[in-house]
């Protein structure tokens, strides 16, 4: 989550970061899945920032957006299908 915040801050600055309303909903370390919530108006910004992450804690890493949904229920269904 810190990596995503750092990237949002790097790319869009304090003003941009303030528009995202980004926060962590759930994290599953075993499956390596994280659910985050953000403002729907800032979706593209957050997505770009997530894609631009290249390392986490100084280790090479890539975060991939698996699914996007307006509700948690639909998101869980998409994740299950995936």
């Amino acid at each position: 989550m810190n990596a995503i915040w750092d990237m949002v801050y790097q790319l869009f600055g304090e003003f941009g970061a303030s528009q995202t309303a980004l926060f962590l909903v759930k994290r599953d370390n075993e499956k390596g899945i994280v659910i985050v919530r953000c403002s729907h108006k800032a979706l593209n910004m957050v997505r770009a920032a997530i894609t631009a992450v290249t390392d986490i804690n100084r280790k090479h890493a890539v975060i991939r957006v698996v699914a996007v949904s307006g509700t948690l229920k639909a998101l869980r269904r998409k994740l299950f299908e995936h």
Binding site: Q10, R47, A48, I50, A52, T54, A61, V62, V65
Partner: protein, 245 residues
């Protein structure tokens, strides 16, 4: 359903395992067509291995060569030698004369500007006017954008924003590719499209740049390199002494 394409993969060609990992990752991410950059003197066994690996993963494979000529004459010489041997020809434009010659030439498919320094990027209004009379597309490689940070990223984004606006204004197709050497540099097509927002591309154009445009380039070139191709709109349908029967 959209067919996504990444026209610039650069796996290490000496390591078969790494090549396979990259192709596997590209398939996982949803690409149905990949083009792998090959050197001019590539072993046929390597090409066969790549073709076989792509087929086993269910992804279409296209061959690509990246030319980095030092002068426009060197570019013309290289094009004469390599055009018919590779399905995609990309030119890294490191000087203005090379950029102009590449834009004019109908044998060039992609114009790439590999530097983050605005003084070494030659895609300006004049270049675009020349390019719109040719068939070359403007290629954006995302690996550089992911690599640089801070001031250099800001400078690169600023250049890309101007160049994308110029390309759109002049009707030059834009292709977004990953330029990935390893699976860590690969991104999914929707993720690449979302990155394109950073330099002013809207969602529709960005998705076309990773799907429709690159697929059309490969299709066009495959038709041209086919043995039955004569000229635009002219194909040999049947050969023989009595073609009526």
């Amino acid at each position: 359903m959209k067919q996504f394409a990444d026209l610039h993969l650069r796996p290490p060609l000496e390591e078969r395992e790494q090549m396979e990992k990259l192709i596997c990752k590209a398939t996982d991410l949803g690409y149905s067509l990949v083009a792998i950059s090959l050197p001019p003197k590539i072993k046929q066994a390597t090409v066969l291995f790549l073709r076989k690996t792509c087929k086993s993963h269910g992804v279409d494979f296209a061959t690509r060569i990246d030319l980095t000529p030092k002068s426009s004459n060197a570019l013309l010489k290289s094009l004469r030698l390599f055009r018919r041997r590779f399905q995609i020809v990309g030119v890294n434009c490191i000087s203005k004369s090379v950029a102009r010659q590449a834009a004019k030439d109908h044998r060039v498919d992609m114009l790439a500007f590999p530097s983050s320094n605005p003084r070494k990027r030659f895609f300006d209004q004049a270049e675009a006017r020349v390019a719109c009379q040719g068939v070359a597309a403007f290629e954006i490689d995302m690996a550089l954008l992911l690599q640089v940070t801070g001031f250099y990223r800001m400078r690169l984004l600023s250049s890309l924003r101007k160049e994308v606006a110029i390309a759109k204004k002049n009707g030059i197709p834009i292709v977004i590719s990953s330029n990935a050497c390893n699976p860590f540099q690969l991104r999914g097509p929707n993720d690449l499209a979302s990155l394109a927002l950073l330099f002013g591309m809207d969602n529709v154009s960005a998705l076309n740049a990773v799907s429709v445009t690159p697929s059309a380039i490969v299709k066009r070139n495959r038709e041209k390199l086919d043995s039955s191709y004569v000229a635009r709109g002219v194909r040999i349908v049947r050969r023989g002494t009595n073609c009526d029967s």
